[in-house]
Structures are given as structure tokens and as C-alpha cells.
Assembly symmetry: C2
Homo-oligomer: 575 residues x 2
């Protein structure tokens, strides 16, 4: 017996119920046309994910219930069973899946395992469910799970399979980081193999503040083989016919059953749905396995994150400072890819310390990309600051103060353009810089979105090189790859005057930030003790700057932002 | 039989184990001198509270265990039983109380109820305990709890009393907001009365980033009467002799006992300690009931929050812009109170739109306070911006852009002073302004700490008036109270050109932010629909600004910051 299943891997807009409901209705129409038995949406698709403290607003929860009723009504006289992520409100709020068919809400499943680590705060908002839930449709028994529920040996999938489930549906909103796409495939496929039970994994796509959801939904058969896959970083609706067999594993003796006696789980809930279609031939849309290099994958994540941030916040155009360096060049390239060249404006803001080649490289890049660009010198304004502060600064030597004033004039220019023309300002700091505080607060850190904030400098170069070779053209001028990185805030300055070489710096940062290794442990791996301590000190000391910087797009396992919550006032020292 | 109990209501420095251990040792010496039976510290006193993601660093957890061992060794040949908050690490991390006597760790209690709402993220870090714990000392049975554990009907206090506990010890780190001091007294006193069981509540004091811990530890007898109280907003060590009686309530039949059978709680843990002292006479230090007006209470909270932020982050002096308006005047006053007049520098930065009275009022205030102050005009620098942007802005009318440029020049000045002289910049925006975005990002929002960020404009005036009357002198000049609030960024501008009257605005904000009321509900209370919608729109639209503003001191039930986690990308609308 076959079940025909449609996965709606779509982009929700957070809080835009009308928009989301329209998308849901269109997907229902498609599934109905396809004669699909089941249509599955991502986790919390009705509200968008994650709604954060909007969940504390009763009015928001009510609007969500109204929207659900609107969807339920729309399914009248339709046959496909719909699994839709929404917030259910009983004595508490639950991250839930509505089970809908033919104008009726057949049941509601509540997510059991609520992640409260990394970027997740689900225990802040939701009460956990404790009822494994199984739908019978035709002769098939279908277990329901939401995201985290399958990412642990103690989730309800185990109970559901024990109770006879022959297929597991999973509604997900799993944010991207590099490596996670492969991790998901391996994990879900191993799980299906382990339980000899197919899994339908439907993930969200789209950008939401710091997070990018990459889609990459998968359907895995009972042998752990991936039979269909949603497009990465794009909306996709795929339909698959899956053969459903009796699951012999469900008869195995299991010591975890005592959890039921102990009241760990409530008894399972069984829901009866109508099977309206018969399918015999195997239909599979959704190409299997999209392979990408690391560089391409991160580039696409950044493009999607930027595009959705700009569009969902109602901006059309973006503006950024072009220094002729690699960071701003890569951000310009990402912006053009995301928004089109007509929506990207580059501003060259040379100072007395800017080299001729910087201006030329930035111009060349702008011309290669075909973007509007302007040159506004900061020299005159800088001199007027010098005069204004002359009295109060006399007898004090020049220091970083004068460098920061320059960076802040540039910030003021870009914000003025933003105010006057409604552009969103993009900042161009990378992760190595964000980590070490090698940036000026309110200066080059001024802007609405920090596009490459989570990308190390060494990766920036690799992605840039990949981009040029992808385009088959030196859009990012060769000279930008060759010259040593510099902030150009004083004569002959280079980054390596104050920072260790980026190959060393980035690896120390990765160990310190992503792996939370002690300074000692990093030294044991062969790095110079003084260097490691210096880097750790920079990271710790610059928490105050990061706290005021714009949000950036998470592409690593541990990004600055919601993912890493360090106190500012902090006298803990490993250096 | 009497127990002599010492409460160490002290200020920990987050992550500074050496400092915290020194304080612990001194308190142990005092308790020993006092011949106290028990010495109780606040929650997580060893690490400081809240350590946030430092808890994810294994090296931090190890350092915490080393520091604990250091304390344990120090108690050798001493008699007082010590209850110390630390992080216990077994298969998981726990928010714990160490039970220490005479060089031995007699036991460890794990907090049961882990708050994960408001500013709290304890489920991110800790696994909950499930063993109610009772210490016998002399003939007394002493139940242990940590903070939240007593703030719910389902905490372990209930079990402990049922198992015979005659007194409950509570280690707390309860952050201040206005109203909480009274709430705590009422709640703890009601709880003691309810169970006919004395409670010793020892709270942290000191500032940590957004949070202020106000101390106000209390000892409540079995009739619910407060018998001793720690000083508000100050360190205090108080000692109390409490008479311990058999608790008859512990024999009551209780339907919740079935939780034990259900495995909800593990069986209670009993710990035997030595009773080394005999006390007959009633000793009580710690004055009962410190009464303060709302204005005084908030003022003191801000003074403590500011002082600790400055000192714990290694700053000596602060600098702020003085506009001659009420907000910056009050911040100057708070800074002088916290740091001394010699550590506060005021900068007057008049533009072409600044009125004569603004400059005079700011000067007058500086003279009254006796603080260093300087005048640096922004006019010339502003003109240089106008020239630099002339080309790109031609054909576009003047608008908010030009106002923001002025504010950002001021921000750049203050940051330059910060960079050159090592001052911390204080920002002066109030809650009404922060809520509505009536401030310039990177302009008047530039700085390290936003002192009055959580205080509504209407309260600002009240606190200022209280301050003058407290000092018995018009330190804040009368004219500042009288003139209409204005940003003075264009001719004849006042706040009320774009904002509703502050009495109305603040009440709408309170309902919208603190109570999460729907726009509709606020309108039902008699506010004009268009006004409420306008305010709600401003609040929602300015989330991006708040995200990049400096942290501020929480003094309300719901502050901007960790306490209110709204998405920036958010199309949910009630307006």
C-alpha cells in the first residue's frame, strides 16, 4: 500500500498570518490536485519561527487560533490530510501540529522535547506534550513528531513505533549552520534504519533575523535511503509515494515501556482519518541529493539570509561602504546576488590614509558588479573634528581615538544616506574581527545587518575565490586577493600589526568560541601560549561591542548573538 | 531551643573567584566569632549571578569546584555550618547549595525549580534537582531551598516540611524591580505563616549588567512576622537567634504525598551536622523594615547598578552629554551619587538650535554638582558634514537626516573622550524614549550604559523632584522642571510635536509592554484608538534600534533587554 505525501517546504513570514495562510491554501490546492494523502508543513508555519516573546501576547495567540480556523474551513470538501504547525493554547501554550481533514480538526499533537540551548528558548514559551500520537489513514499508522522530538533517543518516535506507527512525520524548523545539512541526512537516515520506519522530514526555508532555514527536507525509506529531497535554500513543494509495510520492530520487547507505567508518557492518542485516494505507481518529485561545496553552501545561506532580512523588513535598497578590501567586496557581491545590482549602492569614503589602490579596487569592483557608487571623502569632516577637539585633546598624543573618529564619520555618512533615501546599511565585519573587537563601535559597526559576521576571515577569501570561479570572471579584482588586509586608519597600517596571522587566529577563535576550549587546552594543541591568551583576552574584552553591533547571519555552530550569551561584566579570566 | 543564624548579604563579582572566596572567608570568620550555628550565602555566590554562557565552559566549572574546595578547607576546625551557592557538576550541571562544616562537604542540594522566564535562562544551563534535603543540627531539622524553590506551591519546601523541617533556609539571587521588595516580604511571610515554619531568606546584593540585586534579606518567624531585615542596596551581615519548635503541620495529611510514590520527587535526603553552640538569649542584628518611597527606591537601585557596572568593569570616571534637559540632569545626579563628583565629566555640545537656557541650565547643574564640564560646539563639524553631503543630497529637502547627523556628532565627541581618557560614556535616554525610538542610534544612544533606560519620563520628573527635596536644595535647577522637553535638533522643536503627552504615553507603554495588553484592550480603558495604534507602531518599529542600544538597569517588571525578546523581523500588527 502506498501513501502519497506532499511536503510544503515554504518560507513563512513571522507574524504575517494573512501571508502565511495564503501560502498554506495554495499548498493545499496543490496537494489536492496531486491527490496526496498527506500534506505536511514545517514547524510553527502558521506563525513563522521563532516568534519569541510575541508568544507572551495573548492577542498574538488568538490571532494564531483564528488563522488556524481559517485554514480548517478551507479544507472543507477536500480530501488531503493536513499537518500544520501552530501554537495550541489550552491551559498552557504548546508548540503543536494540527491534524486537519475535510473542515475538521481531527486532533492536535504537542511537541515533547523543547530545545532550550544554542539559539533556542522553547522552555521559555511552551509546555511540553506527553502524548505520542498516531493517525490511521487507509491501513497505515502514522506517527507525528515535531523537530527536536526525533533528535534524541527519548523522544516520542520510540513510543509511536512501539505502538505500531509505520511512518513518522516530522514538522521542522531547523536553522542552518555549515555541516548541519549533512548531519541531518545522516541522522534522520540512521534513525529510519534503526527503527525500520520511513521518516518524512519537512523543514522550513527562509531567513528570520539571525537565522537561516535552509529547507533540504527529506523523505527516507525504511532502509535509511533518501528517496527525495527538497531544494536547498529555496522554496519547494515535493510529492512522494511511499510504500508502507507492517513494522516488525513494533513488536520488540522494550524496557522503556516502564516509562508509561511511571507516567513519563501519557497513553498514546489514536486518531482516525479518511483515506480518500488510492495510489499504485511510484511518484517522486524532488531531486535526490544536492551537492555543494562548503563555499557555495555558505554563500547561498548568506544570500538567502540577507534577501529575507531586507525584504521582510520592507527595504528595497541597501548601501554599504566599499573600502577596496575583501570583506566589503564580498558583502557587495552577496548583496547583488540577493537583491540585484540596481538595489545595491556602494560608497567609497577615502581618508588621508587611504591608498590609491584601495579606491581603484573599490571602483573596479563596483563597475564589475554594475552598481551605483559614490565617493565622499572624510578628510574635511575629520579636520573639523580635530579642530573641535583641539583644546580638550591638547598635550595628549594621537592614538586609537583619531582612528575611531574616522570610522565614525563613515558610519555617520552611511546612516545619513539610510535616513535620506531609506536604504538599509549593511556592515561588513567578519567573524575574526567581531570576535577580537577589531572594528569601531558606531563606526564600521553601524548598520542594520552584519552580513558576514559569522564567517572567519580565512573563509571569506575562500568564498570570494569560489564566487569568481563560479561566475567565470574576476568580478572581485585580483588585487583585492593579493594585498594585505588593512583598516587604513593610519599610515601603512595592516591587520597583522595587532592581530596574529588569520590562519592561526581563526583556529584559536574556533576552539575558544565554538568548542568552548580552555586556553590551556588550546595551548596543548600547539599554539603559542601568549598568542592564545592575547586572543582570549580580546574576545572577552569586546563583549560590550558585540552587544551593540547589528545582528548577523548564523552560519556556524556557534554564532555571536542569541547563540552565545556572555555577561559583559565578567571577571573570569583564563589569560 | 535557639538556632543562631548569620546571613551574608554580600556583593559577588561575576567570575572573580578569588574575590568571592575572600569575601566568603571573611564572612565565615564573622559567623564563627558570633558563634553562629549556620551561615547562609546567596544563590551562586561563589561564581556570581548570573554566569550565563560561562557555565558552558568546562574550565569555568572546574575553577568553581576548585574555589569550593578552597572554602571547604578553610572551614577546618571551625564550627559554623556553611550553606554556599555554587555550581555542582555531576552528570550534569546544577544550581546548588554546598553544605559545609569543619573541612567537610556534608552534602549538596540541587535547586528544583529552574526559572526560565523574564531575564532567567536557567533551563539553558542546569538540570533540576529532585531531592528535598533536610539537615539535622542540634535538635533542629533544617530544610534547604534555593530562590525559585519557595516561589511556587510545588517546590521542595512542601516536602521538606512534611518530612519534619522546622526551618527553611533559602539562598537567593532575586533581581530588583520596583514593587518586588514588598512582594517578597509579603510572599515569604505568608509562606512561613502557611506552613507555620520560619524562613531565612538570604538575597544577593549588587549590580550585574542589566540586573540589580537589592539585598533586603529577611528572617521570618513561624507566625509570618519579619524579625530581621538586611539593608536595602547595601552589603550587610546580620545575625539572628531563632527559636525552633516542633512543626505540627508536618503531621498533616497531604494529597501531594502521592508525588513521591509517582517518582515526582526522590525520597528526601537527610544530613547530620554538628551543633557546636548553645544560645539562650535572643540576638538580632538587622533593623526591621526599611521604608522608602518609590522615588528613593528606584534612585538607589540606579545608583547601585551604575556604581557596580562602572567599578566591576574597571572604569574610574564617566562622561555624559548635558543638554540642559531633565534626562541628562538626572543621570548626572545619579552618577555623582554613585561615583563622587570628581569622577563625573559633563559635556555641553550646543548646536545652532540649542537655546540659551539649555546651556545655562546645564552649566548651572554642573556647578551645583561641582563636576568638571566642557563646552564643545557641534556647529562647525555639522557644517562640514553638510558640505560633504551637499552633492548627494541636493534636490532633497531637509528632514530627520540632518537631525540625526547632529546627534551622531555628539556621539562621536563623547566616544572620542572615552577613547582618549578612558571614560565610560553614559547614555541618558529614558524608557518612554527607548520604547518609541525617540533617540538617534549611534547618536544620543552611543555609550556603555543606559542608566535610566527603564524609567518612564513621568517618573524621571518625580525622582528628580524627590532628589532635590532629599538634598534640601535645588541642585537640579528649577527651570529644568518647568520647560517643555525638547531634543533641540530643529528650531522650536518639542517632544510633544511627535509624541502624545507623557502621562498618556507612559500609561499606554506600560500596558503594552509590561502587561502585554492588546491594542484593543488598551483602547477599552479609555485611550484614543489612533494614539494607541501610533504608540504600538512606534514600539514595534523600533526594535532594531533597541537591539543595538547599550544595556540599561532594570527597575520595572519588564525592561527592554534580556527581559523582552522580540524579533526584529516581525510583521505581526495590531495597528
Amino acid at each position: 500500500m502506498y501513501l502519497r505525501i506532499t511536503l510544503a517546504q515554504l518560507d513563512a513570514v513571522l507574524g504575517d498570518f494573512d501571508h502565511n495562510v495564503e501560502k498554506i491554501k495554495k499548498a493545499i490546492d496543490i496537494a489536492e490536485l496531486e491527490r496526496s494523502d498527506i500534506l505536511i508543513f514545517p514547524e510553527l508555519f502558521l506563525t513563522g519561527y521563532p516568534p519569541e516573546d510575541l508568544i507572551l501576547r495573548t492577542s498574538f495567540l488568538k490571532r494564531n487560533m483564528q488563522a488556524l480556523n481559517n485554514v480548517i474551513n478551507y479544507t472543507k470538501n477536500k480530501n488531503t490530510l493536513v499537518l500544520l504547525g501552530f501554537i495550541n493554547v489550552d491551559t498552557d501554550a504548546h508548540n503543536a501540529a494540527a491534524i486537519i481533514q475535510n473542515g475538521k480538526l481531527l486532533g492536535v499533537y504537542h511537541k515533547h522535547l523543547l530545545p532550550n540551548y544554542s539559539v533556542f528558548d522553547e522552555r521559555r514559551y511552551f509546555a511540553p506534550g506527553d502524548s505520542p500520537t498516531i493517525i490511521s489513514l487507509k491501513e497505515a499508522k502514522i506517527g507525528i513528531t515535531i523537530c527536536e522530538d526525533i533528535w534524541s533517543p527519548i523522544g516520542p518516535m520510540h513510543e509511536e513505533v512501539l505502538e505500531g506507527a509505520q511512518i513518522i512525520m516530522n514538522l521542522s524548523a531547523s536553522p542552518y549552520y555549515y555541516g548541519k545539512r549533512q548531519l541531518r541526512k545522516n541522522y534522520v537516515s540512521q534513525k529510519a534504519y534503526d527503527y525500520h520506519c520511513p521518516i518524512v522530514y519537512c523543514n522550513l526555508i527562509g531567513g528570520q533575523d539571525e537565522l537561516v532555514f535552509d529547507g533540504g527536507s527529506i523523505v527516507v525509506d525504511s532502509n535509511g535511503n533518501i528517496v527525495a529531497e527538497g531544494k536547498p535554500f529555496e522554496e519547494d513543494i515535493i510529492t512522494v509515494d511511499l510504500e508502507i509495510e507492517e513494522n516488525l520492530r513494533s513488536n520488540l520487547h522494550d524496557p522503556r515501556r516502564r516509562h508509561i507505567e511511571k507516567g513519563y508518557f501519557s497513553p498514546p492518542v489514536f486518531i482516525k482519518a479518511e483515506g480518500n485516494f488510492q495510489h499504485k505507481n511510484l511518484k517522486v518529485t524532488g531531486k535526490i541529493s544536492y551537492n555543494m561545496t562548503k563555499e557555495e553552501e555558505i554563500f547561498k545561506a548568506l544570500v538567502l539570509g540577507l534577501k529575507d532580512y531586507v525584504r521582510k523588513n520592507g527595504f528595497i535598497k541597501v548601501v554599504l561602504g566599499l573600502s577596496g578590501g575583501m570583506d566589503s567586496s564580498l558583502v557587495a557581491v552577496i548583496a547583488v546576488e540577493a537583491l540585484g545590482k540596481e538595489n545595491v549602492v556602494g560608497i567609497l569614503m577615502p581618508s588621508m590614509y587611504s591608498s590609491e589602490h584601495s579606491i581603484n579596487d573599490a571602483k573596479k569592483l563596483s563597475e564589475n558588479l554594475g552598481i551605483e557608487h559614490h565617493i565622499i571623502s572624510i578628510s574635511e569632516v575629520y579636520h573639523s573634528y580635530e579642530e573641535a577637539l583641539e583644546n580638550i585633546f591638547k598635550n595628549y598624543p594621537r592614538d586609537i581615538t583619531e582612528e575611531n573618529i574616522q570610522a565614525r564619520i563613515r558610519g555617520n555618512y552611511l546612516m545619513a544616506l539610510s535616513n535620506k533615501f531609506g536604504y538599509l546599511v549593511l556592515t561588513t565585519g567578519n567573524k575574526s574581527e567581531t570576535a577580537t573587537g577589531y572594528a569601531t563601535l558606531y563606526g564600521d559597526m553601524a548598520g542594520g545587518l552584519s552580513v558576514i559576521k559569522d564567517v572567519y576571515k580565512t573563509d571569506i577569501y575562500k568564498i570570494a575565490a569560489w564566487y569568481n570561479s563560479w561566475k567565470g570572471s574576476e568580478i572581485i579584482p585580483e588585487n583585492i586577493f593579493i594585498k594585505p588586509p588593512s583598516a587604513e586608519l593610519r599610515p601603512d597600517q595592516t591587520d597583522q600589526d595587532t592581530l596574529p596571522p588569520y590562519e592561526i587566529l581563526d583556529e584559536i577563535l574556533r576552539l575558544y568560541i565554538e568548542e568552548e576550549r580552555a586556553v590551556e587546552e588550546i595551548v596543548e594543541r600547539g599554539f603559542e601560549k601568549e598568542t592564545v591568551k592575547y586572543v582570549a583576552r580580546l574576545v572577552d574584552k569586546n563583549e560590550y561591542k558585540r552587544r551593540q553591533g547589528p545582528i548577523g547571519i548564523k552560519i556556524s555552530k556557534r554564532a555571536f548573538g542569541k547563540d552565545r550569551r556572555m555577561p559583559i561584566t565578567n571577571k573570569y579570566r583564563e589569560w
